[in-house]
């Protein structure tokens, strides 16, 4: 009987470890068991990322619709080329949509916000968003302000 209680407690211990792993996977790291939603790729060029990073989120009106998968330097034009994965369900982004880099709160993570325009044509897989707004740099604002004061 004593070995039985011991074996049961070992079983509970192993189960607790597995549950902890599941919690870490699902709740903490946000790993999803359901198959990945179909996505399509969009590109956008920015002159200044201001700390935007891969895995950052892409949102429309504050709702997350995708994430940033790659950031590269376009060596021809010397601008940053950002690759985004957008949920297939959001397929009505117009060609004149504007992608802008925003900050969550004052010091939070940088993310890309897309505001949809009114053009009848939609962006397809692999298209590039032409209209972009780079990150708002407080340093640049201050230096612009200071130089305009000097004039």
């Amino acid at each position: 009987m004593r070995t039985r209680t011991m074996e049961i407690s070992v079983g509970i211990f192993i189960l607790a470890g597995i549950i902890a792993l599941a919690v870490l996977a699902l709740k903490v790291s946000g790993l999803s068991l359901s198959p990945a939603k179909p996505t399509y790729k969009l590109y956008a060029q920015f002159s200044d990322l201001g700390g935007l990073s891969v895995r950052g989120r892409v949102s429309i009106a504050g709702v997350t619709v995708g994430r940033i998968t790659d950031i590269q330097l376009d060596t021809d034009r010397m601008v940053a080329l950002v690759e985004m994965e957008i949920d297939q369900s959001v397929d009505t982004l117009t060609v004149d949509s504007i992608a802008s880099i925003r900050t969550e709160g004052l010091l939070g993570e940088k993310f890309i916000d897309i505001s949809v325009g009114g053009d009848p044509e939609y962006l397809a897989d692999g298209d590039t968003i032409i209209d972009t707004q780079s990150a708002l740099s407080i340093e640049r604002l201050v230096s612009n302000f200071a130089s305009s004061l000097g004039k």
Binding site: F13, A16, A20, V23, L24, A25, K27, V28, L106
Partner: protein
């Protein structure tokens, strides 16, 4: 001058030969042919190194998580970004504190017990009498303990992480009033399963192997006197702790360092 050189050489040779014996010991202990009859022995050891270590692991994890929440909040609130407390607590625990503190506690709680137990078996000549009646002590004593340690340590580290994050959430969300949604969502956004959780598990597996190996070898290798047992137990804790901290730096540099 020559004498001190000789002493240095001698201690170097001794260290090397101990390392070599420890290596052979590990291989011998692991590569015994496993049999179903040995399984109850393994379960018994899993009970004594795993289940009996649970209380200290859970309590420490709870307090460490709560302290992380409290300290993190006090630092982050100055910058108005107290919602970053979730990622801070989770990343600290999953990447570093979970595996390392669990390994240190494991060395103190289970490692010392393993050394003392095997040491006493050796001192009371149980091991040599086992050999006499034809039972392989490697198989009967060493292998189940090694395997149980290897299995128990990652499980304990996982439980530590989960409990610690829960402690951090209790302090951050329930007590200090960080929004629960931003706590979990920021955490999910910055913790990556492969990069953070899996690397943490790899760390805890390495620490489990090292701690158990050192503990069992120290026990098997000690001088069978009461002084020898006490020395070996102390050594187990000291060497395991140093090995864990040193290895942690190397593993962190390999896993998270950018090179």
């Amino acid at each position: 001058m020559l004498d001190s050189l000789q002493r240095l050489g001698k201690s170097g040779l001794e260290t090397l030969s101990t390392l070599g014996r420890a290596g052979i010991f590990l291989v011998n202990g692991l590569f015994v042919v496993p049999s179903l009859r040995g399984f109850p022995l393994f379960v018994r050891q899993l009970f004594s190194v795993g289940v009996l270590s649970l209380p200290i692991i859970v309590v420490s994890a709870l307090f460490i998580g709560m302290v992380l929440g409290l300290q993190g909040y006090n630092i982050l609130v100055d910058y108005g970004s107290e919602s970053a407390i979730g990622p801070m607590v989770a990343l600290t625990l999953v990447r570093e504190l979970g595996p390392v503190v669990t390994a240190l506690l494991f060395a103190g709680r289970a490692g010392s017990a393993l050394t003392a137990e095997i040491g006493l078996m050796k001192a009371t000549e149980q091991i040599s009498s086992m050999e006499m009646i034809g039972v392989d002590p490697m198989r009967r004593i060493v292998a189940p303990r090694l395997l149980a340690g290897f299995v128990a340590m990652p499980l304990l580290a996982l439980i530590f992480n989960a409990v610690g994050i829960w402690g951090g959430m209790m302090v951050g969300v329930e007590w200090l009033g960080v929004y629960e949604g931003s706590f979990w969502n920021n955490m999910k956004a910055s913790v990556d399963f492969g990069e953070d959780v899996l690397n943490g598990i790899i760390k805890s597996v390495v620490f489990g192997v090292v701690c158990t190996w050192i503990a069992v070898f120290q026990g098997y290798n000690l001088i069978p006197t009461s002084e020898g047992i006490s020395n070996a137990t102390t050594k187990t804790v000291v060497i395991s702790s140093l090995a864990v901290l040193g290895l942690d730096f190397i593993l962190t540099a390999v896993m998270f360092g950018d090179f």
